[in-house]
Symmetry: C2
């Protein structure tokens, strides 16, 4: 696994250590991480700071040309909100840790020309599987099931 | 116009008064505003706080059942990110001030069963038309054109 997915997993683990939902993300431009984040629903009572959104927020107001050349890494298949943010900013490549525990809007992304690669990484799967088993009510609240 | 779109317009005007992008939104449940907000790109340097996202953030961690029964009002047709948040939380009805200055993901929302009503309100159109004419670079950055 490359260093960027490792950084996304490190974000997810940090979120777990904070008592939060273990999903992490990094945004990479020109070989460098320009934004990183993790889900902050529990920590900040946030309805919108999923891991990917937190990474966008931390990347901040980048020129459109930067986001268009960026690659987004996320430990879990991106939900409709995060996929919408990916489309808004014209991100063209998304690397997904796994989509076994949750299948996001990968088809929508592909239909709009985004390259989506799914690693099915065992450590990403284990993080979510263990979390969902331990805190099902929190997961269902987050993803709105 | 009903009081809720008036509240969304008041949010948009507040954003303009702060030097920001004049788009506002409110989320209504059971006849009461549970979240209100406006675009905060300029004010907070935020890449994700569009008007609708700010309203979600201020509504906070509501039970899924609340969001499913809520109505979202927004002065401008919702972009892909905000539409994705609407889908994530299962909002079933969206009232849009106008879609003349920007057409968001209304077709995607309708294809997923969301009722989208567009008012083509002249005050909403004027707010955006005047803003885009005055600050085209800011608008293009925000919407990623």
């Amino acid at each position: 696994m490359d260093e960027f997915m490792q950084a996304a997993i490190a974000e997810a683990r940090q979120g777990l250590a904070e008592g939060g939902i273990p999903i992490g993300s990094v945004i990479v431009h020109d070989g460098r991480i320009i934004g990183r984040g993790h889900n902050r629903r529990v920590q900040q009572g946030s309805a919108i700071l999923h891991g990917e959104m937190d990474a966008f927020e931390n990347a901040g107001r980048q020129p459109a040309s930067v986001y268009r050349e960026a690659v987004l890494y996320t430990t879990l298949s991106p939900c409709s909100m995060c996929s919408g943010a990916i489309l808004l900013y014209g991100i063209r490549r998304v690397i997904v840790g796994e989509n076994r525990t949750f299948m996001g809007e990968e088809e929508l992304l592909r239909s709009r020309g985004v390259a989506v690669e799914v690693l099915q990484d065992e450590s990403c799967i284990a993080l979510m599987r263990d979390f969902i088993a331990a805190r099902p009510e929190l997961w269902n609240e987050d993803i709105g099931v």
